[in-house]
Amino acid sequence: MSNLIQLTNGKAHISDDDWQLVKLPASQVEARKQAGKIVLFKLTGEKTVSDEQIANTVIPAHGKIILPLTVFIARKAELQTRLSKNELGVWLDTHEVLHTLIENQADLNALPIIAVHVERFADGRIFSLGTLLRTRYGFKNDLRAIGDVLRDQLFFLKRSGFSSFAIRADRNATQAMISLNDFSTPYQGAADEAQPAFRRYHRAV
């Protein structure tokens, strides 16, 4: 059974996953992608993925695919048909810089799906990335959390603009779905509801 939770008009349901996630081949060099190093990457322009890895990534010839950000950028030319057929999405890791996606794909809404991969559930960068994609860059299509996606982060992911959640394979997605609604009246405005409680309700003294 599928372990994908999909939000449709605010309603959650278990959905079949017709997207195929494409991964980078393993690197010979140890990837310097540790959290925190991003500050240095930005300053030095150092790459986190090698050209060799990008070139060796096997892109399936058919079906709907979600490509790593670096592969999408480097091999965009050969993928235009897929893009126009709505068969192409992009995923990024939490340490990657969102701006590189925006620079290379001005119209984000040409992508039917963007996924953010969280390696460890405790990595809260995923929330800022989702928030920025929705509120800053106006992404309107499916925004998916993938990787170490667990029940107790779902409420925050939903509020950060995510619309589908690929629950980790060893967990029960049907039970996890309940936690999307852990809180009914959150205080602050966020990606899913921009108005804070003090603007949504008349709060009497």
Binding site: Q34, V39, F121, A122, K158, F183, Q188, P196
Partner: protein, 560 residues
């Protein structure tokens, strides 16, 4: 104080239900240790040496009598009938059972309390001046803004899992009592040249392993933008703060790595998109929340009270207490009163269930049913009539709450240390008690005068040792407990980080080391000079020389 409406109550009730289910899943093996850890921490639950430790939130240190009674009851029913007040103005239970925590939270929710975000890598309790609203030097009462920031930060989805803990302090006085420079974000409220409320924003301060005072990121921010500006700061931190090394994960490390100018540039770039977004605070919202902090219904009283003056003259013990425990009040005829939780020979900051009931009663009878927790780990009745002070003293004294040592050497700030805390490298409470016993002469303590002695059992610095005039840090050397001593630290507007005087000492040596520091001070001080002033004038050299004189002698003898 702030009273919950339906929205606030719904959030804490839903939290109880959520945490009850998380605990159930953990006990059923559906959540691993690693998965449960951030969940329980964000509910204030640590797993400690003897039992779990539960940290209960006291937002900006403000409690009602009803709430304090409930804390006393909870300590009685679920713990060993005492609680520990912390330097973050919260209260900790040292012996609750993990499986009882959901029930404790349910009890707390009935009095509008919770344990939300009292630990973990998230925005923690907002702290402020314990004399907010009553201090004569106050420019802006910061409590309404503290409450607005509390609500904004509660379950903020974007900042639910930050690289590390994140602490915000607000103050509205000329003389800072909230240690804003030692916080991840410090906000000082003031009136600008147009008489509008504005905020001076500091960022990147913090104690812990790498003590750094904050840098000013913005001299002038209109109050409406407090939340969106915090959002910009925390977003830059959330995205770029280090996550590979917990010791380098605080925002202060990022600010240092980038430099304040580059960090500010990134924050301002972020804020240019967030400014005027819906989280911008409205006049109506500030007015609504401020209604909860309107001045108490004070009586019109003369500035002096004859019975009080007479009692001061006739009763030496009362006079000694009054000298240290009373604080000026902006309304004539009133005083703020510190009830000391530092009787000599007991763990600093601890209060029994009975003491909590007594203080709740005192607050109800004499101080409009409210009290505060200070970051010096004492309790405060903020609005007592001068004519009632003698009665308050008598009742407080009968329950061990009137040690006349507030602000003196034995008013030690101290973390739970190795007796309770699994993070600690060394015990701290026995050191505090040994020092209190060494200086158990009140006249002598008064002669030494204003001094702050802070003890932490490890470099996480819960006891704020870096900003103590004398700071003591427990360290581990080859498996045994040692203590490193700093002098010259200070909180307040002229905050400074203390300097280490030299090699660490054993526990037995500590009372004598403090004695020697005091000896140098008493010998060298000029009139009216406090310990910290003498240290700043002379530097650490004479102190160091005296403290280590015997050690050098001992070494020489061994060598000979």
């Amino acid at each position: 104080m702030y009273k919950y409406d339906e929205i606030d109550q719904t959030i804490v009730d839903e939290r109880v239900a959520q945490y009850r289910d998380q605990t159930r899943r953990y006990l059923a093996g559906e959540l691993s240790e690693d998965e449960f850890r951030p969940l329980r921490l964000q509910n204030g639950l640590y797993i400690q040496r003897h039992a779990p430790m539960l940290r209960i939130a006291v937002p900006y240190g403000l409690l009602s009598s009803q709430q304090l009674r409930k804390l006393g009851d909870i300590a009685n029913q679920y713990d060993k009938a005492y609680g520990h007040f912390t330097t973050r103005q919260n209260m900790q239970l040292n012996w609750p059972k993990l499986e009882n925590v959901p029930d404790i939270l349910a009890e707390l929710a009935t009095v509008q309390m919770h344990a939300i975000q009292t630990s973990g890598n998230c925005i923690r309790n907002i702290t402020t001046d314990q004399f907010a609203g009553v201090a004569p030097d106050e420019v802006i009462d910061p409590r309404a803004m503290a409450e607005i920031i509390r609500q904004w930060s509660t379950f903020h989805p974007e900042f639910a899992l930050l690289p590390r803990k994140f602490k915000i302090a607000v103050s509205g006085t000329k003389n800072d009592r909230a240690v804003v420079q030692a916080h991840d974000i410090g906000m000082e409220f003031y009136l600008d040249s147009n008489q509008q409320v504005a905020i001076k924003v500091w960022v990147g301060g913090g104690l812990g392993r790498t003590p750094i005072l904050g840098s000013v990121i913005r001299e002038h921010l209109e109050w409406q933008h407090a939340l969106t500006y915090c959002e910009a700061i925390v977003r830059v931190y959330n995205l770029h703060g280090r996550r590979d090394n917990a010791y380098k994960a605080r925002i202060k490390i990022l600010v240092k790595a980038l430099g304040i100018d580059e960090f500010k540039r990134q924050v301002e770039a972020e804020w240019s998109h967030l400014k005027d977004a819906p989280n911008t605070i409205t006049e109506a919202e500030l007015a609504r929340v401020a209604t909860h902090f309107e001045p108490m219904p004070y009586e019109t009283l003369p500035a002096h009270d004859a019975s009080f003056d007479a009692a001061i003259v006739s009763n030496v013990a009362f006079a000694a207490w009054a000298k240290r425990s009373l604080h000026a009040h902006k309304v004539a005829g009133y005083r703020a009163v510190t009830l000391s939780l530092k009787p000599h020979g007991q763990a600093p900051g601890d209060a029994t269930s009975l003491q909590m009931q007594v203080v709740a009663d005192l607050a109800e009878q004499y101080s409009f049913g409210e009290l505060r927790v200070s970051h010096e780990q004492n309790l405060i009745l903020a609005d007592v009539k001068i004519s009632d002070l003698f009665a308050v003293w008598q009742k407080a004294r009968a329950h061990g709450l009137a040690s006349p040592n507030v602000g003196l050497l034995s008013d030690i700030i101290c973390c739970p240390g190795g007796d309770f805390c699994s993070l600690a490298n060394a015990k701290s409470i026995p050191i505090a008690i040994a020092i209190q016993m060494q200086f158990d002469n009140l006249d002598y303590l008064h002669d030494i005068g204003d001094i702050e002695l802070n003890i932490s059992g490890c470099m996480n610095a819960c006891g704020h040792h870096h900003v103590g005039h004398i700071g003591i840090l427990g360290i581990d050397k080859d498996g045994s407990e040692w203590y490193q001593v700093t002098i010259g630290g200070s909180q307040g507007n002229d905050a400074s980080i203390g300097s280490v005087i030299g090699p660490a000492f054993s526990a037995d040596e500590m009372p004598n080391v403090v004695q020697k520091l005091i000896d140098v001070y008493l010998q060298e001080r000029n009139a009216e000079e406090r310990f910290i002033d003498t240290v700043r004038r002379l530097g650490i050299t004479p102190f160091k020389a005296h403290v280590y004189a015997d050690k050098a002698l001992a070494k020489n003898e061994v060598a000979a």
